[in-house]
Symmetry: C2
Subunit: 617 residues, 2 copies
Amino acid sequence: MPGAKKVGGYKNRILRVNLTDRKFSEDTLSNEFIHDYIGGRGFGAKLLYDELKPGIDPLGEENELISLVGPMTGTNSQSFHRWKVTFKSPLTSGYFTSSAGGFFGAEQKAAGFDVIIINGAADKPVYLWIHDGKYELRDATYLWGLDCDDTHTLIREELNDPRIRIACIGAAGENGVKYAGVFTDRRAAGRGGGGAVMGAKKLKAIAIRGSGKVAIAEPEAFRQAAREQVQILKEHEGMKGFSETGTQLAEFTNLLGMYPTRNFQEGVLPDWEKIERSVYTNLRERKTACYRCMLHCGSITKMNTGRYSGAWTEGPEYETIWAFTGPEGKADVGLTIAADKLCDDLGLDTISAGNTIGFAYELYDRGIITKKDTGGLELTYGNSEPVLEMLRQIAYRKGFGDLLAEGTLEAARRIGKGAEQYAIQVKGLELPAYDPRGAKAHGLNLLTSNLGADHNFGYAGQELFGIPIPREVDRFAVESKGELAKYNQDLTAMTNTGIYCNLPLSMATLSPELYAKLLSAATGVKDFADPDYLWRVGERITNLERMFNIREGFGRKDDIFPKRLTDEPMPAGPSAGQVFEIEPLLKSYYKARGWDAKTGIPTKAKLDELGLGFAIK
Amino acid sequence: MPGAKKVGGYKNRILRVNLTDRKFSEDTLSNEFIHDYIGGRGFGAKLLYDELKPGIDPLGEENELISLVGPMTGTNSQSFHRWKVTFKSPLTSGYFTSSAGGFFGAEQKAAGFDVIIINGAADKPVYLWIHDGKYELRDATYLWGLDCDDTHTLIREELNDPRIRIACIGAAGENGVKYAGVFTDRRAAGRGGGGAVMGAKKLKAIAIRGSGKVAIAEPEAFRQAAREQVQILKEHEGMKGFSETGTQLAEFTNLLGMYPTRNFQEGVLPDWEKIERSVYTNLRERKTACYRCMLHCGSITKMNTGRYSGAWTEGPEYETIWAFTGPEGKADVGLTIAADKLCDDLGLDTISAGNTIGFAYELYDRGIITKKDTGGLELTYGNSEPVLEMLRQIAYRKGFGDLLAEGTLEAARRIGKGAEQYAIQVKGLELPAYDPRGAKAHGLNLLTSNLGADHNFGYAGQELFGIPIPREVDRFAVESKGELAKYNQDLTAMTNTGIYCNLPLSMATLSPELYAKLLSAATGVKDFADPDYLWRVGERITNLERMFNIREGFGRKDDIFPKRLTDEPMPAGPSAGQVFEIEPLLKSYYKARGWDAKTGIPTKAKLDELGLGFAIK
């Protein structure tokens, strides 16, 4: 193996892999870079900004896939298990970062690299094998076409080490489905098409194994901060709920009247009681967890009756429960379980897949497409039977699926006939399971996120869960929601340097003060002990990402919802009558951000203030 | 965990598990028992004989499943990786023992038990978890219905140890398919219905992990004998061939005119050149191997073109290649690969499955069954398309598959209309991929094996590969074939105490002299150093198994082939004109065995000579 090296305590090492000429290089991140961007998402944002020329093809050789962990990854602090891939998205043509739980991140850290940058493209399928500071590209011809689970199994067998962690793609990524994800042990960095980026690079998987220990600058201080963290999580009422039921929010959001139904035409699923909280809990066979996380919010779920008897999955999470019920207008637990597992096998993002299927259902309902277009599939509301077949056709780009594989926006453009208004997306990224009309700061986040409609970019737990931090809010109110959206987005960006899990974050379990204690103890960087500094880094990251997109031609014109959400009042239910008041909301957001109200571009003053002067044209 | 104990060097420990009352007990095998039966198959034969009352229901609580390893399992000797399950067969209602390669055996040994006896039946699905001398039954409700690969993955995740080895059943075993196998990492103890026995006991899996070292009585002598073994295997021309191509024998047996085609109506597949030796080698993506075996005869094979593009499997072995070509009268490599993997997923024995499907094809061809019986499937020769659907129907006992799940003999009895003559089986066990008319000692073995038509009970390498040990033979000749069949059977029984792999055994790589050196050094038992004694143990085992069957009502009447093989001359090809001359062949065999020529029962003198006086009624 080239580059063989013994590793022990280390940090801030970077590995570059060029797949075109099969070359590797190693580097150490500079102290300045670490100081300014901390880790994880911060590193990814700066590297992508620096290294990608504007206008490159997301599925071309010039795109990069950057695999990232943070300073706390692999330590005994809680819920810093997440791992990120950052890349230019084939779905949005903009900046993207997607994360997954599980164990891959801790393994990457233990293998000695905080950052892995992959560019170029191989001429035939390969996988990247990294082992304690050593690395090589291996033939993946035999893995091409295999589902994600089989890929995990066969790589572990080939390398004769069952403890290897793997991030891989399924058929969807190989076939360039624009919302193909990257999968590790059935957990997905699902959104934005990272799987398609890997597929275009003919990179089937990254396999990783490490035995290194994470270097901690101030062990005793770190231990104390980690203990404080455990105490908070232990005593937190909301966390007990999540531990018990996982992300089973369908009952909750239906009761808020913001469960997107029939492609966001309604906010309450008629038969939502069939998926009330206890339904999935009762089907739970056992709980699962990520590396060093006491929440254990995952589940192995199995259907034991009916048509889908025997179907099982890890999950389904709330978004997936929605993806295979709301869009089709019908609750079917067995189908949802089967569809979730199928998406894991094929390597599909369930949110975009479900939303895109819902888009097709509405077009069919309106007669914009017919059986002739769908290849005979009957997409009538209440008939969710075609869903599994549609998922297969999407992943293999067969028949009707080839069109749906493009995502709602591009598919709508190809279909024409006014279809675009039914593409419920922002910047090309399909909306998840929250109708913005029912929660305005949450909606603002979906509207302005640098990723498109991503709920994890700045989850408004204040509106949804009644979290009183920084203050109590009315979910329908408009005033000051711009500032609240900014708060949530910057807090998320800040803690995404860690990389802390967004689930406990949405319940306000990690204060900037505690995060500062953990970070400064872990790294020894003085400024990290100052919460104000961390807030600035959070804002720096969201602004830099915005500048990436501005450079790509994005602007205020892209901070837009389909008019259904802004012009059609929610017809019934607990959010009846609500629209998303886009003008005042966006105005308040731009103002809070210090961005130009007309163009949506960060002002020179703001960029200078954030140390982003280099991004000023 | 009950029974927790620290283990280190150990041997000859036995674990008993009663699933009905969930009780465990431990014991040590007596020196006398070890002396008389050595290990592996010997232990299983004696225990099953002693512990089962005659006439019990193989799918009832009283049946036992005995998991066995041998004195060399887990040592650094070569090809002693195999592991056995012994039980009363639901397919034959007689004695059965089935073995698989892989890593389960070495793990069982390292966990501290040479023998695990499982009896009773659980009231709901469980799996047995054994870890370094500790053991418990765990809930397997969530695993019920899962395929074999998923079962492996989820158990490893649940117990948080990816190095756990697992032997499990799929849907076929759960649903009581009479030829459901037991699967470990895609390797199968496939034959005889051990999977159905586990299913009836509601035992989804045995999971095992151990860190113990195998105790060796005379380490230096053992090392020397193991070195001698390596030298022999290294220099053996035939083994080089097996290493290169695995068990790709289809070309070879077609050239011998004994490739059973269209349910043994012919001996040459019309398009056999499509499966000549290089075809699968060219599709091989990488080689695989069992624990401490230098042959690496396994393969990961993948189809990259045509209808089954993307299908992959570990294998297919020769018997499986045959199972999905010969019976249907057509070579289809993609279908074979897909069918092999499907059998691994569903937990089906490929030989019985393929033979049974071939039986159905012939009945359909003759109009004994029609589309009405098959649920619309067109079983016309040359159309192998229905095969995958048939396998699914068999495993889930749906529609036509419910009948085929019984195996050819019972299915024929239920069908009536003379169907029984087309059930190509012995004692209920379907014939494998060798037409007995083309190799008479090999045929005699299939005819007289205590398992029914099992080719590994005494493989006649002399006839098939031209092995000159103990002498060169003409494969069509009748004379002295009884004695040759006995030689092969007793040698196999002897080395199955080890448990040596039958593949290198069929190439005469393990002489009784070398086996004696290994065995005596490993165990310190003096008599084991004497090859003549080992021959006696081999004969003891085959006779004791025979007495188990005699006690069940078996006899000469059951040493019978369907009349196609004895009365219809092979119509064409290199074995044209041959029949299996059953009368003289069986007579010569009984004579060589010292069994009563009329009844086929071992004489009192023979039993006394072998120390089996207890079996005389």
